[in-house]
Symmetry: C2
């Protein structure tokens, strides 16, 4: 053996069950390069150590990642399934993320495509507390797609935002959320805004007999986030908007798992767009906006709709919807929540793309309708329910 | 005015000071496309609302981002400086990140290049608690570069890792950190490992008279992270390794700001590599590995060194070092901490690149030296101190 003799020559690793989980990556390069990248992932994501210096035994045999499948795919890419010992990821979400895409995120030409997780690994995560069914029960809408909109623009006072919230809920919007740009600015402080908007939505519900929910954006100092979420609940919030990119995926998970809180969570994609803007690296839409959101407890996952201000393709949106809904161990399906790009004359197209188990997030364009806000929402509700 | 009449026609925004901060972006496209992208950033990062539907007054005049400079740059890109009202970002780091790169991260062809922050905004952040000077005082090394290495491979028992920690500290490595792949796995549970390694480094220090520090990796459930950090301190840790991509930038900031903890933090780049793997989008090295780390309180910022296993260029590494050291309001400079690629015959080249205020993170290759671990470290220390 080469080296300095400081490491043991042989090592047994205690506590390995033999159980493994699989992650699918796409890698660039010709067959040899792609194979070398796959082998590199196996080391980089586990031992991060030169293979020839590893102690013999369980470490190379079980701890290092293992190529389970290697296949040349279209576009000069290769698809690789790599398995990891379940104990390498441990029981905690941050370390799971670390294993599946920690260091390798820094190497060009590697894209995380999909998580292929065993039931027993998935059973370590609660996932969405409400899921599609639970959220439907909360708002009392059995079959049709749900409508969501956002309180904005930033700059309005808490009173003006509350007036908007009232109007949206009164018009029939199921889920009225803060814009993700509303935080705790002096313009409309969190507690003041949340109290006013929750009261406004409750007032609208009392008049309509509906059960619209108000979902404030919970963002802020790490050590205050749970307190802020509980304050929102106490003020009457019916759910929370969370940006896992900004506060951390595991922070969202901890809010979802908080039994004393018990609110549905809607996830917003701010900050980590760079994972998807280059097709050769980052994380595929299916995994990022679908699987990871469910692992981290989101009941609905917002993403930019095809045809809106962003550049997602219909196929990418379809994959996100699948990632939100496909069987994933015991984890409930989440609502795909395409934002923007939803108009009356596009309802048939949207239905073909998403089906009925979807939340449509209506943007600022909602204020453009000739029929007024109530008429626009009524027409949309009729179109999506018919 | 078009629209449904639900929004006010005019709005005054309370609490605006008139003070603004500036963010530099690079955008792709010809001059017209680039200009359109710049105008889009101004809306997308603030009101996220159609310009023609905004209430007149302070919102378009002050809340919406403002193009302060627009210049065609090399490579068909344009450089744009956009200013935001300081109140839009508020006092909290997650919302600051949201404003500078939240939604726009999802749009192709926009790269965050640099933060140009006012003194009064920077004064809201404590930044690195120790910085370069404070960390030098802790380890008792006045001038030369510091040496750091990582305990690995994953799979070793706590006892074996502690033996390594002893050997490294005894050989003269200033900072002995956990590999970022060590979490709280059953293979070497956090508390057991930290206690054993801290004791080992203390024992080496007692023999050498040096003041090497042990820095465990603190990762885990969001609501347990501070407790884990304090447990590490109580067990004798001299600092902490934190992955802001995995636990959240503001979680790192909250650890740095914890007066009762008071430990230096070393930041690891796992998870967010996708921000840099495509040159046309994401976040430039200067801002990501330099400025953002200091805002979030890191005393040292690890990144992949040129010539190592990753693909960073010498110029990118130079920019990171500048981002760690350039004047940044009252925030102390952090140590650029290039990982890998450091060998005896490259010392002159590394010194030309980084100067002396740097930490060299030695990888697994440390075990390859013919002189044994002690000899290799001694030769490196002599080379970098001469």
């Amino acid at each position: 053996m080469p080296g300095t003799g400081v490491l043991p020559l042989h090592a047994a690793v205690a506590g390995l069950s033999g159980e493994r989980f699989v992650v699918r990556y796409a890698v660039t390069g010709d067959a040899d390069e792609a194979r070398a990248k796959a082998e590199d992932i196996c080391l980089e994501q586990t031992v991060e150590f030169p293979a020839d210096l590893l102690p013999a035994g369980d470490i190379p045999d079980h701890v290092v990642g293992r190529i389970e499948r290697f296949e040349r795919a279209s576009g000069g890419r290769s698809e690789v399934d790599i398995s990891y010992a379940i104990e390498v990821a441990g029981d905690e979400l941050p370390q799971f993320l670390n294993v599946v895409f920690g260091n390798i995120s820094i190497k060009p030409g590697v894209r995380l495509m999909r998580l292929l997780l065993s039931e027993s690994l998935l059973a370590r995560y609660r996932g969405p507390r409400f899921g599609q069914r639970g959220l439907r029960e909360l708002v009392g809408v059995v079959e049709r797609p749900l409508l969501m909109t956002a309180l904005k623009p930033l700059g309005l006072s808490s009173a003006a935002l509350a007036e908007l919230a009232y109007r949206y809920a009164h018009a029939g919007v199921d889920l009225v959320k803060d814009d993700h740009g509303l935080a705790n600015q002096p313009i409309a402080r969190f507690e003041e805004r949340v109290g006013a908007c929750a009261e406004a939505v409750a007032r609208a519900n009392a008049e309509t007999g509906r059960r619209s929910l108000y979902l404030p954006h919970v963002i802020g100092p790490a050590q205050e986030l749970h307190a802020r979420a509980h304050a929102a609940k106490d003020a009457g919030a019916g759910g929370l908007l969370v940006c896992p990119g900004l506060v951390g995926f595991d922070t969202m998970r901890s809010l979802a798992d908080d039994d004393a809180l018990g609110l549905p969570l809607v996830s917003h994609p701010a900050w980590y767009g760079s994972f998807v803007t280059s097709p050769e690296q980052g994380i595929a839409h299916y995994a990022l906006y679908g699987q990871l959101q469910r692992l981290a407890g989101a009941d609905a996952s917002i993403f930019p709709n095809v045809g809106g201000r962003f550049s997602f393709s219909a196929q990418e949106c379809r994959e996100i919807a699948a990632g939100c809904r496909d069987p994933f161990g015991p984890l409930a399906p989440a609502f795909p929540t395409p934002g923007g790009g939803m108009q009356l004359d596009g309802v048939a197209h949207m239905r073909a793309l998403y089906g009925d188990d979807v939340i449509y997030l209506l943007g600022g364009g909602l204020h453009r309708g000739l029929e007024g806000l109530d008429g626009t929402v009524r027409n949309l509700l009729e179109a999506i329910a018919s």
